[in-house]
Amino acid sequence: MNAPMSIKGRSSPARGRERLVVIGNGMAGCRAVEEILARAPDRYDITIFGAEPRVNYNRIMLSPVLAGEKRFEEIVINPQEWYDDNAITLVWGDRVDYIDREHKSVVARSGRVEPYDRLLIATGSDPFIIPVPGHDLDGVVTFRDLDDVDRMLAAAETGGDAVVIGGGLLGLEAAHGLSLRGMKVTVVHLMPTLMERQLDEAAGWLLRKELEGRGQTILTGANTKHIHGVDGRVVGIELEDGTRVKADIVVMAAGIRPATGLAKAAGLDVERGILVDDHMVTSDPAILAVGECVQHRGLCYGLVAPLWDMCRSLADFATDAPTGYSGSVTSTKLKVSGIDLFSAGDFSGGEGCEDIVLRDASRGIYKRIVLKDDRIVGTVLYGDTADGNWYFDLMRRQEDLSDIREGLIFGQAFASGGALADPSAAVAALSDDAEICGCNGVSKGTVVKCIEGGAHSLDAVRAGCKASASCGSCTGLVESLLSVTLGGDVESGPKAMCKCTSFTHGDVRRQIVEKGLREIPQVMQELHWSTPDGCASCRPALNYYLLCAWPGEYVDDQKSRFVNERMHANIQKDGTYSVVPRMWGGITNPRELRAIADVVEKYDAPMVKVTGGQRLDIFGIRKEDLPAVWADLNAAGMVSGHAYGKSLRTVKTCVGSEWCRFGTQDSTGLGVQIERMTWGSWMPHKFKIAVSGCPRNCAEATIKDFGVVCVDSGYELHVGGNGGIKVRATDLLCKVESEREALDHCAAFIQLYREEAYYLERTAPWIERVGLDHVKERLFSDPDTVAQLAARFRFSQTFMQDDPWARRAAGERSDLHSHIATVRPVAAEMEKA
């Protein structure tokens, strides 16, 4: 490389040539020059200013340079000879500071003045620096040019900790490079999903797991509040929630801003970027602009592909053969070795959009195509990106895919080509030894034989030859085989959980335990959910199943709960809430009654009512007042009554032997003990208990989920009763002699129900489905089972029996009870809530 040129004064143009001055020796600027030279090599006398002290190189390859996979020499696009051969004057290491439109010249920092006939602005973007305190400390770097890479490499030499702010493409490539260079890397990302502009939640989750597996720490939903330094040098960062992370270097990769300063100062039309028309001409006809610094038809781009198209159109115009650029559709790949990821277009869905999702858990694959009117509008591929370009091409051409849509997700090889277009035909065309089920190694011939042998439903095939019985990703193929083999005689099996999956509630519960699945996104990936983040019916179910399977370990997902369970109160039709404090066994006292009366007055509750569950219901409380109401009730010793939950509701009792002339046992006392044992537990559906002191059954124990009827010789235990929509009287489960046994059996029965029933299935329909014999068999075939189940229930209760009201009253999740702010009319000023 030669020395920087610093010739002061004007250079004289070759005779007859127009003078083209280019600001920016980057990817777009040089490409534009290349395109012009290819069309009209002698037309312009060209001068290029570059702020960077080097020749033109491939900026996107800075990531491999950082990662140690490439050297700078290997990423140079145009060496000095190219400039020399084409008589281009390269002024490097000199920044243009001013455009003098009146005299048609530019002024550089060195003082050099260069007149132009045509000016091309190609200044690219500037990294966005979040203006937090400490952003200007030594050791806070950006990731834009080779100098930045050199700074990172210098820091990495001594190892230590790196924090990368921003979990987008750039940030993750920086994190990858630094981690390969031996640093301990933490990525801090504001949004919940990594690369949220390119990935949906499911793919983001896979990426996160992979990066975490490689030793990076990923913090999402994390807002940097402060960068701390000692003696002017960075030592760490602090997040809004108080978390501190140690750092020897902080990389800001929080986004880019088009570099428009020069253009703006020169009075050109600028919005987000420099405004250009289809020929890349700015509001001044003598000035062109290209690359990341421009805004074309409302869009600014941050990738190279659009630049190539822009440069073509620019060169056509600059050589008097205008064609016009009409915008670009872009796609993204992440350049992190070993991670295949592809994303293009708009996959945020929306009206009229349909999702096709394929997940293959064993190979860590997630593919999603978004169609609108049978045309691809977006796609996300993770783990297998072989068909990315094919989808991208179909999307760009807006091809009508109605003929091949069924097979589309399986890729080009499967979907294209005449006869194979129809999936049934494709399946029919497979040879007999073609593998259908990879997990269990079942061939097409075996499946067909199984179907012909009488397996006429998916379940029967699963039972008969194991195809689709494991991961389930071949379910579609097996279904096709069923319909190809049987025509219309396929029997539909048990109903799938919801439209997001082909698995039943039973399948899902079983696999959560068998595969040790511990998070909702993990269940969705491993069980091939067909939607990115589920729906309002599977999310609460999965949350419950995980809570039941992993007590004390699973972190409850509040956003997957119905409003009542999230707000710990019952929503009313006007959006207010009702509040029901627990009254153990229906017993109360003056202190509680007074506290309730006070709450009713203090919060202006329009109604207080005695419920059918033997307690008091306070109506019309606003969500903002709930924590205060609870605090008042807590102060009088009352806790949440869970009148809102798929959980233990009330334990109704009657007067019992203490007062009643017929009472045989202390039904009130036993009811209170049962309620103390069971309150706070989450269930598949609501669960009601009652204890009656004699067979007159004043507590209506025989229409409860668990009912106790006391008799002289002990306690009759009844299960599976239901008032409500379809009345069902209980079945007698057994008779026991002591309160202790009654309590144990109650705990065991509840645990069995909790572990086996489907979400939103009360005990009555559950027992109707599995049969009372099954319940008895599960409880009594082994003498230890009752004790084991009861122990599991009690263990789980050690985590559940803390009053959710008390936590809220103490300020937990105050965001659920407060407004963001209030807007006043007219002036519309904001008032922080």
Binding site: E201, G350, A536, K559, K573, D574, T822, P825
Partner: protein
């Protein structure tokens, strides 16, 4: 900024992904601001087209919310009821810039057709 086109309603972090929060408008209808699991933000009037259920309290999935009262699903993009249900709730133009949420001022304070303040009393 105070009287610009866009009303700054605070940082994106104040709304957990997959949830919504509310913004009462004095003399107008309350607004629900949603943050989807994918990290997108939307704003709708906080009243279901069915019977004015507080949409802010529903379960957010994909780019729709399921109303907490009777399970209608409403598109967060357009405010339209999806599936076989019919109806629409006004949506308020929203943008996110440098980690802050902005609502189109004119859409927030402009009086809408129908009696004001008929939204859910306290969502």
């Amino acid at each position: 900024m105070m009287f610009g086109d866009w009303l700054d309603i605070g940082p994106v972090t104040q709304i957990e992904a997959g949830t919504a929060r509310t913004l009462p408008v004095q003399g107008g209808e309350e607004i629900a601001v949603f943050h989807t699991m994918r990290g997108e933000f939307f704003a709708l009037v906080n009243a279901c087209p069915h019977r004015k259920g507080p949409l802010s309290q529903g379960i957010v999935h994909g780019d729709v919310v399921t109303c907490p009262l009777h399970n209608w699903t409403i598109s967060l993009r357009s405010g339209n009821a999806l599936g076989s249900d019919e109806g629409c709730v006004p949506s308020i133009p929203l943008k996110v810039d440098a980690g802050r949420i902005y609502l189109k001022r004119s859409a927030v304070v402009a009086p809408r057709a129908g009696p004001a303040g008929t939204g859910a009393r306290a969502a």
